[in-house]
Symmetry: C2
Subunit: 196 residues, 2 copies
């Protein structure tokens, strides 16, 4: 049976305000509602970036209380982050931080990790998706143009792979492209089939 | 100097009717006109699929006669194809061929090759981009649903990576994602800077 048929028995809730995640989940053919969570995104500094992504997806899921959930509700919560040499490159707070983040990513490979938590009233499952992203050497002029024009302040690592800098600056990826956009769609499809 | 500034001195012509290539070249920030070519896409069967992609991009460029070109014109022609175990998987002629192509790709890695030719009145350059694409095992029900709904008859390999089957079926890629959509954008950016 196809996933979309199985999911027709559920009320799927995407716990994310990201328009990119909304787009990606829609493209998978899944019908869902959006409920945004309000959690403080702090974590133990000793965790590896991949563990942080999983931990934060669990934290977002824990915004929902299992006891208040209906039997047919399914929560999907996600945290995506960028990691360079073991250091998390978060969302930039201003233009100059965005420029400095992109200067770090320039000419280097970084990891994009998404932690995804699936939760129903009765059970919960978390998985990780990892993609390697290789930026070519970016000119400062290019970085400044991108930041001024695209204002990537809501984006981990200060870039959107589906924006100009992704088209002209990303040489190669290894793994899921849609994970870099914010949702590892094929892995989510597979994990949902196992989970439900 | 940024590529877009250099290109402002040229009339760029994309020799392709593909709406996906038009989209990708636009996202690179390049202004261009479209001129569709009418060439017979035949080739020497002894060529490797990667050579076929380059040869066919040259053939599309040769639709334009250098002697008729203005000094400031720049032609970009592209051929993208799918290769599985050394065999070219072309555009499917009908629903049943599309289904059989996707059954071949299911559970396997294939290559997507784009040959790109850049041509001005005075010179010509061809390059290749290669991406590995890994499909998970697809159920026949999924293949039939995709083909019936998305009718991928204009697509090499009978799939669009930016359609449902790409979101739920492609587990991993190695190389450029946009190459799989039909234009290796970052490589094109780099090669244009060298060529002009």
């Amino acid at each position: 049976m196809m996933l979309t048929e199985i999911l027709s028995n559920y009320r799927v809730i995407l716990a994310s305000a990201s328009p990119r995640r909304k787009f990606l989940l829609s493209e998978m053919g899944i019908k869902f509602d959006i409920v945004t969570t309000d959690v403080i995104e702090d974590y133990d500094e000793n965790l590896h970036p991949s563990e942080v992504a999983m931990f934060l997806s669990q934290k977002k899921a824990s915004f929902f209380s299992k006891s208040n959930m209906s039997d047919n509700e399914l929560i999907i919560s996600v945290d995506t982050l960028v990691s360079l040499n073991g250091e998390i490159i978060s969302k930039p707070k201003d233009e100059s931080e965005a420029i400095s983040f992109l200067q770090k990513l320039s000419g280097n490979m970084h990891y994009v990790y998404s932690g995804v938590t699936l939760m129903t009233k009765m059970k919960q499952h978390t998985f990780l998706s990892e993609t390697k992203v290789y930026f070519r050497v970016l000119e400062n002029e290019e970085i400044e143009y991108y930041v001024a024009k695209f204002k990537p302040f809501d984006k981990a690592g200060a870039y959107g792979v589906q924006e100009w800098i992704g088209y002209v600056g990303v040489e190669r990826i290894e793994g899921s492209f849609f994970n870099v956009m914010g949702l590892p769609t094929t892995a989510l499809h597979k994990e949902l089939l196992k989970f439900l």
